[in-house]
Point group: C2
Chain length 112, copies 2
DNA sequence: CTCTATAAGTAGGAGCGCTACATATAGCCT
DNA sequence: AGGCTATATGTAGCGCTCCTACTTATAGAG
């Protein structure tokens, strides 16, 4: 998958990954790897700044802890973040419907 | 739909719009409007530069004509563009599958 | 004592889509 | 005659985001 395809959808992925659980940055990256069957291998330089953005936006909050001598910054959704996630999910639905419609066209290639 | 969601997928839309027919820029914008049920209303400042990029990339070629006193630049796919369109379509499939998987998660919200 | 895994971060760049503006013709309405 | 709308193409420059590359630090394996 071309790296920039995520543009504009990364927030949704991060929020969804934090839905119902709290994870630190490194664990989020691993969760996305596993949750995507290995298709998503996001670099730290993408994820960490994105989490900061989400925190600035009030969608997540973080707490520091130390586990096994290593510092962790653990994130969890705020209620605003939960609402944002719902919005992202419905926006994603709309988005794929629209693009599918254009790409699918008249059924020339559709097979599903 | 948030405007930047298109990032990375605009080429696919333009190539798909030109699949099997030749259109000029203005007509492409209208075709996308109709083909998306009004959801896509791309500004000329987005479409024209994108068409130039596609032409530079060898995916489309253009010819000038004059119709009703107005100049038109009509685009059509090259064979490389046709291949690129196929690639974009399968990339889109992969992309949506991956994101759907992450957003859908464990079925908490999936309804389809 | 080095190498890998774990863990977080910054600096800087590329590139794309957008806003806003400029240009030009045809046709309609007043 | 003048203005307005639709048709048609284009550029300049901005903002943002994701990426590459690098830095820092600890624990454990070999």
């Amino acid at each position: 998958m071309k790296p920039d395809a995520l543009r504009g959808h990364l927030d949704a992925l991060l929020l969804a990954t934090l839905d119902g659980r709290q994870l630190h940055g490194y664990a989020i990256i691993e969760a996305l790897q596993q949750g995507s069957g290995g298709a998503l291998d996001l670099p730290t330089g993408t994820v960490y700044p994105a989490l900061r953005r989400l925190e600035r936006a009030g969608h997540v909050v973080s707490d520091w802890s130390t586990v096994g001598g290593r510092k962790r910054r653990t994130y969890r959704l705020t209620s605003a973040g939960q609402r944002a996630l719902n919005a992202e999910r419905s926006a994603w639905r709309q988005f794929t419907t629209v693009i599918d419609g254009v790409l699918g066209g008249d059924g020339k290639w559709a097979q599903a």
